[in-house]
C-alpha cells in the first residue's frame, strides 16, 4: 500500500469512528424515567468540583428519602445523593471513588439495604453504562465481568453490541438530554410519587428474634468492606443508615450492626419505633410506597441527619459562599410545593396551597359535602375571589374555575351544570356537576382526555399553567362526619 492509500484508509476509518461514536451514544439506553440512573449520574457530573461535602449513597431509598436542597437551604450543607434503584455495592464502591475524585468528600452516608440483595445484571449495566469513561469505570467493568450473570466484557466496552437493537425504540430523550422534567434536585427526587400509603409502625421491623442474624448476599460484603477501607484511607466519615422500609427485619438489622461494631461505624436504623417517633414520622403521610419516604418523610429524615452531622463536624456553610448556586432553586420550590399538595391529607392544608399564580383549578361537586366545609376552606376560597358560600350549597350543584389564583367562573344551581372553560395557557376543558349522576361518569374532561372523576365528593383538578401539565386530581369526601382528602 502506498502512502496515499494508507491515508485514504486512515481517513475513512477516522470519519467512521467519529460518526459511530456519536450514534452509539444515541443508541445507549438511558435511564430517564423518574429516578433513573442517567439523571442521577448526570446530576452528579454537573456539580462543580470540590463543592460537595456529603454524599448519600445506596439504593433508591436515598434519592427519595433525603432532601438535599433542604440540607442546603436550611442548614447550608452541600450534599448530593448518588443512589439508584437496587444499586449493587460494587457499583457504589466505584461511584464513590468517582465522586470523591471530583469532590473531596467529608462524609458518606450509606443506606444498607443492598447488603442483603443479590443483584440483577441490569442494575450493574445501567449504572456502569451511565458512568463517564474513566479509570473507575474501567475498573468497575473489569471487577464485574468475572461474575456469572455479567454480560460479556466486549459488550461493556463497546456498548453498542448490547444496545444496537434499540434502533426501534429510540425516542427524543435519546437524542437530546433534557433534565428539565427530571424532578431531581441534587440527586433528590422532589417531584412525583408523593401520595402517601398507610404504613403503621409495626410493619417496619417484622420479627422479634433478637439473636437472629441474616447473612449478607453473595458478593456484597467484599465491596462493603472496600468502601469502609476507602473511606478510612481518605479521611471520610462513613455513616450507615437504614431509611424506613417496611419488611426490614431485626435479623437484618443485627447483621448490619454486627459489621458496624466490628469496624467502629455508627449505624442509624430508622425502622425502630423510637427512631420513627424521633424524626416525627407520621404513618399516614410520609411514605409513598412500602419502601420509600415521600417529600414529607424526606424532610423529616433530612432534619434529623443534618442535626446529627452538624453535632459532630464543622461544615462550610454554602449559603455564605459568594456566587454558589445549589441548582435550579425556583424549580425546586415549585416541585416542592406540588408535592406537599399531593401528599396532603388534611383539607385545610390542601386548601392553603391552592392559591397560586401557577395553578389553575376546576372545582365541581358530585356529592354534597357542604356540611363539612371548614371556615379555613371558606377563607381560602374567598381569597381567590370566590363569592359563593359553599357551606350553604346543600343539595346544589356547583362549578368553580380559578385561573392563576383568581376566580374566573362560579355557578351554583339546583339544575345539573356544565361548563366549557379554558386554562391560562389556552388549553380547553369541560366540566359537569350533577349530584344525581354518580360513579363512572367523567366529571372533568381536559383536552379530550377524561380525567375520570368517579369519586363522590368535591373534585378539584389542579393544573400547572406554566408546565402545561396536571399537578393533582383530588377529591374531598365525607367520612365519619369529617372531610378527608383523596389524591389520585
Amino acid at each position: 500500500m502506498n502512502k496515499k492509500q494508507l491515508l485514504k484508509t486512515g481517513a475513512f476509518l477516522l470519519v467512521f469512528i467519529a460518526i459511530f461514536g456519536y450514534l452509539s451514544g444515541i443508541l445507549r439506553a438511558k435511564q430517564v424515567a423518574t429516578g433513573g440512573s442517567t439523571f442521577v449520574l448526570e446530576e452528579f457530573y454537573q456539580q462543580e468540583k470540590d463543592t460537595v461535602d456529603v454524599c448519600f449513597m445506596g439504593s433508591s431509598q436515598v434519592i427519595w428519602g433525603i432532601n438535599n436542597m433542604k440540607m442546603y437551604e436550611d442548614y447550608g450543607i452541600s450534599s448530593i445523593s448518588v443512589g439508584s434503584g437496587d444499586q449493587p455495592l460494587l457499583v457504589t464502591y466505584f461511584l464513590l471513588k468517582e465522586v470523591d475524585k471530583r469532590q473531596s468528600l467529608k462524609n458518606v452516608v450509606l443506606d444498607m439495604s443492598m447488603l442483603y440483595e443479590k443483584e440483577m445484571e441490569s442494575r450493574y449495566r445501567r449504572n456502569i453504562d451511565g458512568m463517564h469513561w474513566s479509570i473507575n469505570k474501567l475498573q468497575a467493568i473489569l471487577a464485574h465481568v468475572g461474575s456469572e450473570e455479567a454480560e460479556s466484557i466486549q459488550s461493556y466496552f463497546i456498548d453498542w453490541i448490547k444496545y444496537h437493537s434499540r434502533w426501534k425504540e429510540l425516542s427524543q430523550s435519546d437524542f437530546v438530554y433534557d433534565d428539565s422534567r427530571s424532578s431531581m434536585h441534587r440527586g433528590s427526587i422532589v417531584s412525583s410519587h408523593a401520595r402517601p400509603v398507610d404504613i403503621p409502625y409495626e410493619k417496619f421491623i417484622i420479627d422479634n428474634e433478637r439473636n437472629k442474624t441474616v447473612e449478607p448476599a453473595e458478593g456484597q460484603v467484599e465491596w462493603f468492606l472496600k468502601i469502609i477501607e476507602y473511606c478510612d484511607d481518605n479521611d471520610i466519615d462513613l455513616l450507615l443508615i437504614k431509611t424506613p422500609k417496611s419488611n426490614w427485619s431485626l435479623a437484618k438489622h443485627n447483621g448490619v450492626q454486627h459489621l458496624a461494631d466490628e469496624y467502629g461505624l455508627d449505624f442509624l436504623d430508622f425502622n425502630f419505633d423510637a427512631m420513627l417517633k424521633e424524626i416525627g414520622y407520621n404513618y399516614g403521610q410520609d411514605m409513598w410506597d412500602q419502601e420509600h419516604l415521600n417529600i414529607r418523610g424526606a424532610d423529616k429524615l433530612t432534619d434529623y441527619l443534618a442535626d446529627y452531622l452538624l453535632e459532630r463536624k464543622e461544615y462550610l456553610d454554602y449559603r455564605t459562599v459568594d456566587g454558589y448556586s445549589p441548582g435550579d432553586v425556583e424549580r425546586y420550590h415549585k416541585d416542592y410545593k406540588d408535592k406537599y399538595l399531593i401528599s396532603s391529607i388534611d383539607v385545610n392544608e390542601t386548601f392553603s396551597y391552592l392559591k397560586d399564580e401557577r395553578y389553575d383549578l376546576v372545582i365541581q361537586s358530585t356529592e354534597d359535602i357542604s356540611g363539612g366545609i371548614t371556615e379555613e376552606m371558606k377563607s381560602y376560597l374567598a381569597d381567590m375571589g370566590v363569592t359563593v358560600d359553599l357551606s350553604e350549597a346543600a343539595g346544589k350543584n356547583y362549578i368553580l374555575a380559578v385561573n392563576g389564583g383568581q376566580c374566573v367562573y362560579e355557578l351554583i344551581s339546583e339544575e345539573p351544570l356544565t361548563y366549557d372553560g379554558t386554562f391560562s395557557d389556552g388549553l380547553t376543558y369541560s366540566a359537569a356537576a350533577d349530584l344525581n349522576k354518580k360513579a363512572n361518569e367523567a366529571a372533568i374532561v381536559i383536552n379530550e382526555a377524561a380525567q375520570g372523576f368517579a369519586a363522590e365528593g368535591m373534585n378539584i383538578a389542579v393544573y400547572d399553567n406554566e408546565k402545561g401539565e396536571m399537578v393533582d386530581l383530588l377529591t374531598i369526601y365525607t367520612l365519619d362526619g369529617a372531610l378527608h382528602v383523596y389524591n389520585r
Binding site: 467512521f16 459488550s155 448490547k162 444496537h164 434502533w167 426501534k168
Partner: protein, 497 residues
C-alpha cells in the same frame, strides 16, 4: 469460529498481514499455516481426518502420475489407483454422514470434520481429472493440503477445482489496493445479507417451524417464503465473504450463486444456485453416464423396441435420476432429502421429456413466451418451486412436511395475514416491516448486480457519495444486525455438510 466471529477476523488480519510481508514465493505457505490454524480452531480432533483425506488424494494422485509417466496408455492401472482412493474418500464421507442411522454409542464418538462434503468432492474431482490426464499430479503434499484446506472455502465451498484454484494459491500475489477494497466491499454485502437479513428472518422461521402443528396455513406459507430467502441470504452471504476475503489475497474463487431467483426454469435454477455442486455432478457423474458405452447400448436397444423418442426419454431419465438422488443425499441424510432430490429431478426430467408437449400447451393457451409478463411469471414460479422444495427439507420429516401442506390447503386462515398476528412470531411490527423492506433492498441490489459489477459502478461515483454508501452499509450492519445480548446467535445453514 465461524465466519461471524471476532476471532476469525483477527486470524484473517494476521494471516493477511504476514502474507504481504513475506517474499512472494513463500506466500502460499502462509496461507497453508493460516488454513491449518483455522482448522485447528474448529476442533483439533478434526485435523487428522482432514489431513488423512488430503494425504490419500495426494498419494494416489501421485501414483497415477507415476504410472502415466512410464506409459501414458496405462489407463487400467490409473483407474485402479483413483478407484481405491475415491472409494475410500466417499466411503469416509458416507460413514460420517450416516451417523444418524447408527446406535447412539457409536454415533456419539464419530467426529465430523468440518467441510468434509466440500473438500471430499474437491479431492475426488482432482483424482478423476488426473485420471483423465487433464493435468499433472501435484507432487507437493503441503501444497495439495492447501488446496484441500484453504480456509475461505473449506467451511461451505465453493467446491474448488484443482486447475482453477491451485495456480492461484501457489502464486504469491502482490498487494493491490483496488482489489483489497473490492474484497472488503463484497464482504460488507455478505455481512449485510447474513446479519441483517438472514438472521432476522430466521427468528421468524424458527418460531413458526418449531410449532408448525399449531400454525395456520397462511403463516406457514409466509414462513416458507421467508425460509427460502433466508437460505439464499445465508448461503450466498457465506460465499460473498469467502470470495471477498480471497480477493484480498488476489485469489478468485469460483462463483457459486448467480441470482438464482431470476431463473426461468428448474434447469436454469440449478445452473445459478450452488453452481459448483451442479458443475461437479455434471462433470463427474452426469456426463460419464451419458457418454458411457453401456448407455449407448441401452439407447440402441430402446430405439429398436420402442423408437427414438423413447430413447431420448431414457437418455433424459437415467443420468438425471442418478444425479438428483445423489444430490438429495449429499444435502442431508433422511428420506426427506431423497424425496427432495426426486422432486427436483422429476421436474427437470419431465420438462425435458415432454418439451414438445409443453410447447404445444403454451401455444394452445396463447402464451407468448417472449413477453415480459411470462418471464416474470416464470421467475415467480421458480421461487415457488424452490419454496416447496424447502418445505420438504426444513423439518427433515416427511410427515411434518405433509402436515404443513395440509395446513396450507385446508387451514389457511387468510385473516392472519392482515390482523397483525404476523407480528407475533418473534419479529415485532418494526422488525417485520424492516424485513419486508430488506427484501426490496435485496432485490434492487441483485438487479443492479445482474447488470454488471456493482462495486465497479460505485467506484466510479465521487468520493463523498461512495463513502456515504459504505458508511450506511456498515452502520446498517452494526445497528440492524442480529447479534449481542438479546439475540440468539444463529449459525450458517449449510455448515453441517
Amino acid at each position: 469460529m465461524t465466519f461471524i466471529s471476532v476471532e476469525f477476523y483477527l486470524l484473517l488480519a494476521i494471516v493477511a498481514a504476514v502474507y504481504f510481508i513475506v517474499p512472494l514465493k513463500f506466500r502460499w505457505f502462509i496461507l497453508l499455516l493460516g488454513s491449518l490454524a483455522f482448522y485447528v480452531f474448529q476442533g483439533i480432533e478434526m485435523l487428522p481426518l482432514m489431513l488423512l483425506s488430503s494425504f490419500v488424494g495426494w498419494l494416489f494422485g501421485l501414483c497415477m502420475g507415476k504410472v502415466y509417466e512410464r506409459d501414458p496408455k496405462q489407463k487400467k492401472k490409473a483407474k485402479l489407483f483413483s478407484g481405491i482412493a475415491i472409494v475410500f474418500l466417499i466411503g469416509m464421507l458416507a460413514f460420517v454422514k450416516s451417523s444418524r442411522y447408527m446406535p447412539e454409542s457409536v454415533a456419539s464418538k464419530i467426529i465430523v470434520p468440518i467441510g468434509i462434503s466440500y473438500y471430499t468432492f474437491s479431492i475426488v474431482s482432482y483424482l478423476i481429472d488426473v485420471y483423465r490426464r487433464k493435468y499433472q499430479a501435484e507432487p507437493n503434499f503441503l501444497k495439495f493440503t492447501l488446496f484441500t484446506a484453504y480456509f475461505p472455502k473449506v467451511l461451505q465451498g465453493p467446491i474448488a477445482r484443482y486447475d482453477k484454484l491451485m495456480p492461484q494459491l501457489a502464486e504469491g500475489h502482490k498487494f493491490e489496493y483496488g482489489r483489497f477494497c473490492f474484497g472488503l466491499q463484497l464482504m460488507l454485502w455478505g455481512f449485510f445479507k447474513k446479519l441483517v437479513i438472514a438472521d432476522r428472518l430466521s427468528i421468524f422461521t424458527n418460531t413458526v417451524f418449531l410449532d408448525a402443528a399449531n400454525m395456520s396455513g397462511s403463516v406457514i406459507l409466509v414462513a416458507a417464503i421467508f425460509a427460502t430467502l433466508e437460505l439464499y441470504c445465508d448461503f450466498s452471504a457465506c460465499m460473498d465473504l469467502a470470495s471477498g476475503m480471497s480477493q484480498i489475497f488476489g485469489i478468485e474463487l469460483e462463483q457459486n450463486f448467480d441470482h438464482p431467483f431470476f431463473s426461468k426454469s428448474a434447469a436454469e435454477f440449478w445452473r445459478r444456485w450452488h453452481i459448483t455442486l451442479g458443475a461437479w455432478f455434471k462433470d463427474y457423474v452426469y456426463m460419464p453416464i451419458v457418454t458411457s458405452p453401456r448407455m449407448a447400448k441401452l439407447l440402441q436397444m430402446v430405439k429398436k423396441h420402442f423408437g427414438t423418442r423413447c430413447g431420448k426419454s431414457v437418455m433424459a431419465f437415467v443420468p438425471l435420476s442418478v444425479v438428483w438422488v445423489l444430490t438429495g443425499v449429499w444435502h442431508g441424510t433422511g428420506r426427506a432429502y431423497v424425496v427432495w432430490g426426486i422432486y427436483w429431478g422429476a421436474m427437470i426430467i419431465i420438462s425435458q421429456i415432454f418439451a414438445p408437449e409443453i410447447k404445444k400447451l403454451n401455444a394452445f393457451l396463447h402464451i407468448n413466451v417472449e413477453s415480459e409478463s411470462w418471464k416474470i411469471f416464470q421467475m415467480v414460479r421458480t421461487f415457488a418451486l424452490f419454496s416447496i422444495g424447502r418445505m420438504i427439507t426444513i423439518p427433515n420429516s416427511l410427515s411434518t412436511t405433509a402436515l404443513m401442506f395440509r395446513k396450507i390447503f385446508l387451514d389457511f386462515r387468510p385473516w392472519q395475514l392482515v390482523d397483525e398476528s404476523l407480528y407475533t412470531f418473534g419479529l415485532d411490527r418494526k422488525n417485520f416491516l424492516l424485513a419486508l423492506f430488506l427484501f426490496f433492498i435485496l432485490w434492487s441490489v441483485s438487479m443492479l448486480q445482474e447488470k454488471g459489477s456493482l462495486r465497479l459502478r460505485i467506484s466510479e461515483y465521487n468520493v463523498v457519495f461512495r463513502w456515504m454508501i459504505y458508511y450506511i452499509a456498515i452502520i446498517a450492519i452494526i445497528v440492524l444486525g442480529i447479534y449481542g445480548p438479546g439475540y440468539d446467535a444463529s449459525s450458517f445453514v449449510y455448515i453441517g455438510y
